[in-house]
């Protein structure tokens, strides 16, 4: 099934803004995040279809995963 990954801020470095991927049924979010070589501590906001999601969420056809890195400075 088709899913889309949208990367933000520094997560775009060496990657791209939007990736369209074909994944098997039952694929979890972490599988895709790991395949992109994004360390989990580099993800602060994780949205599936614009709603708060988790690394364990299972993709449905057409899902859009959005990943933002943490900012903590002042």
């Amino acid at each position: 099934m088709k899913i889309e990954v949208r990367l933000f801020a520094t997560l775009r470095e060496g990657r791209t803004k939007v990736l369209k991927q074909e994944v098997p049924e039952g694929t979890a979010v972490f599988t895709v995040v790991d395949s992109l070589k994004i360390p989990r501590q580099d993800v602060s906001i994780l949205l599936v279809n614009g709603r708060h999601g988790s690394f364990e969420s299972i993709f449905q056809e057409g899902d859009i995963l959005s990943l933002f890195p943490p900012v903590g400075g002042g």
């Binding site: 801020a9 993800v43 943490p70 900012v71 903590g72 002042g74």
Partner: protein, 225 residues
């Protein structure tokens, strides 16, 4: 009221009066905090508490409004008070040259209407969220790193930081990206606006939503959390 004549329209006369009676604590007087204090003071927020245990270092000069070459080695909190005496002497600034910690947190923050999170690390921000919740005081969070920033309003019970910093994140992109002059100014402006809205009851708060700022791509997203 000539001083506030250009604020009229944005706010009403009675709303400006309300600001004069308000008490806001700004935790951290660095990149974000310097600008937040400046903006709140110019709007006439009557009582500002500036909290920071640090002194100015040369590496602050690229961005921190309160920093000056001549002030290197002196207290950031005291600089906030001295600057406001020049900008708006009607504002009373309490300068607390103390590092915010679990031991002094409640004493420093009690009896404020709003707390502004202008800290520079995630661990202390988590502590601040806990203390603000315990004291039942709204918290205006802002954080930056490189070209990127975020702002949100946290009311007691919301625990929004738990969703913004999942797991045990200690650092953000600022460790590699540094902190330029323009990102803190923009994030601080959004924090100041949210603070004024909390104090006057105006508008729609950034509550359970986070504004994410990307100045490299000029993308601004408000994300429901």
């Amino acid at each position: 009221m000539e001083r506030y004549s250009r604020s009229i329209g944005t706010l009403s006369g009675p709303e400006i009066e309300k600001l004069h009676a308000a008490r806001v604590a700004v935790v951290g007087c660095g990149g974000l905090g310097g600008y937040v204090l400046e903006m709140l003071g110019r709007m006439g927020v009557g009582h500002l508490t500036a909290i920071d245990g640090d002194v100015f270092e040369e590496s602050n000069l690229n961005r921190q409004l309160l920093s000056e070459t001549a002030l290197l080695g002196t207290s950031k909190a005291v600089a906030a008070k001295k600057r406001m005496e020049k900008v708006n002497p009607e504002v009373f600034v309490t300068a607390l040259h103390e590092r915010f910690s679990a031991e002094n947190a409640k004493t420093l923050l009690d009896i404020h209407d709003v707390i502004v999170d202008a800290l520079d690390n995630i661990e202390t921000r988590r502590l601040l969220q806990n203390v603000a919740e315990e004291l039942h005081i709204p918290l205006v969070h802002g954080a930056i790193g490189g070209w990127y920033g975020q702002v949100t309003v946290i009311l007691p019970g919301d625990r929004t930081l738990d969703r913004l910093y999942r797991g045990n994140q200690q650092n953000g992109v600022e460790k590699k990206q540094g902190n330029p002059s323009f990102t803190p100014a923009l994030a601080a402006a959004a924090q100041a606006a949210e603070t004024i809205k909390l104090l006057t009851g105006r508008g729609e708060l950034l509550r359970n939503r986070v504004l994410r700022i990307d100045l490299l791509e000029q993308e601004y997203s408000v994300i429901e959390l």
